[in-house]
Symmetry: C2
Subunit: 300 residues, 2 copies
């Protein structure tokens, strides 16, 4: 439909970004709403779409790319809810049902990282690939998976930031900062873990060489594990920590060393440079993914 | 079609198991062919299906569950070929094209472990689940992935036996036996790695407690990694090494310890017992998977 309108929501821990687009994905209206209480935040979200719908026309579908963990099992009574989360008041809040009741349209929801993987696969750094992994490295570490047209879900959804990793020999003493696991990947290589060891973000250190070697080694282990379990054609690393561009070659070198030519995976520098890449959509992957979820929900 | 006939091949390093079934999957004829040279082996396979087709009726589709690595990219000129393999003469042998030329029917092919995951998901221990992982622990360690109706492929296919793992404190000295990686999971926990350390298979040791604790710790790390990356509803461990049933509780305990209650994954003993299970189809998963691949190829 040429005049169709779509809603997209990137639901984050500090802000909800909302957009209304046309069928081509061109934004017609957008807003940012601070994440406060669930009641106030969702009321502001609904007021935005109410107003825009009156001005722009009926919204055909709304997609939500949300912080998690989420209940995404289609047959679950709690489908569309945030599960137990450390974020006060947001545990067990259903993001889908109030919007569905108000707007009566098709609704899609997924994790922010699954949505980003979807958007990057459809129109970003993974365009044309059948299997894409998107990893974000920031306050936390999370990963999403796109496989043959859709995102990977199951009992829950990928939570790959919490895998265990081998310690870098020059990083033996840091206990890690994950409240659940101590020195899992997120506990060793997230933004807070970097700040705890090095005092600053990696891209602000006067000499980042040693720190990049340590953090890149940990992220490279996630990359190698993703390759061996998920066989992606593109493995995208984004998020604030990846502003330090020197991480990419260290991640690639770690993969090369760990895979060691096995079955030809990443066997050449060129292959590794094509496999492990920065995002194509930058910070827009989340909201672009939410829009893609809206369109998938409409087509389902 | 009531009178439809299907061919199924489990192509292994020591033998090719071939079956012709009816539409319900009931075997009408079966044979085992020793894996010798590609030429002789494939000639014997084709002679079997030739004979059976004359007696039983036209074969509608043939599925192959093969040792790998395999080229499974549908647009590849080498689709259906074995990639570089240590098995003499079998590198770059195409398993699909000679059968397709001879029988002109629909053809499906996948790794033996992906096929096993498919069969277990459709009719075995993963029946009713949308996401299933099947791991075999034997001469090597391999894993297959079923997600929402099909197996996971991509640039290649899962090769999860070669992930790196944390060393068990009582196993610090064994160098591992993987020719590519030394002490990757397969190098530490496969049948040959067990024989190198303990002299016998785990189910033949007079007191297996210490050995089971070590091997279960490594396999438990693969289980935890699978859960965090793939979110399966069922994680099936099969293969000869798993004949030592005491491994299952150690794998579950390791998962419980490593995940540590994060987002409720495997949070109870009951949940872990339902998540991490033995195969439902035993040794028949491979050939059942090959049959399922034949049916999927016919429907495609």
């Amino acid at each position: 439909m040429r005049n169709a309108r779509y809603g997209a929501i990137e639901a984050g821990g500090t802000k909800f970004i909302c957009e209304v687009t046309d069928a081509d994905g061109t934004p017609l209206a957008a807003t940012r709403i601070a994440t406060t209480t669930p009641k106030d935040t969702l009321a502001a979200v609904m007021a935005f779409f109410d107003t825009q719908q009156q001005q722009l026309g009926v919204i055909s579908a709304i997609g939500i790319a949300a912080f998690g963990p989420l209940d995404l099992r289609p047959d679950s009574p709690a489908f569309g809810s945030i599960l137990a989360t450390p974020k006060p008041q947001w545990s067990h809040v259903n993001l889908v049902s109030p919007l569905q009741q108000r707007f009566g349209c098709a609704m899609g929801i997924d994790t922010d990282v699954n949505a980003a993987a979807l958007a990057e696969a459809l129109q970003g750094a993974g365009k044309g690939c059948s299997n894409v992994v998107y990893v974000t490295v920031g306050t936390g570490i999370g990963g999403g998976v796109f496989t043959e047209g859709r995102t990977l879900k199951g009992a829950l959804h990928p939570e790959m930031g919490h895998i265990r990793v081998l310690r870098h020999p020059h990083d033996a003493d840091f206990a890690g900062c994950c409240p659940f696991h101590g020195d899992c990947l997120e506990g060793l290589a997230s933004g807070p873990a970097i700040a705890a060891r090095f005092g600053k973000p990696l891209d602000q250190l006067a000499d980042a060489t040693a720190a990049v070697d340590i953090i890149g080694y940990y992220l490279g282990q996630l990359a190698a594990t993703c390759i061996l379990l998920l066989s992606p054609e593109r493995l995208i690393f984004g998020g604030g920590v990846m502003q330090q561009q020197a991480l990419y070659p260290v991640i690639r070198q770690t993969v090369s060393r760990l895979i060691n030519g096995y079955v030809g995976i990443g066997a050449t520098d060129t292959a590794l440079q094509q496999l492990i890449v920065p995002p194509g959509l930058g910070e827009h992957a989340g909201i672009a993914g939410a829009l893609a979820l809206a369109k998938q929900a409409e087509a389902a």
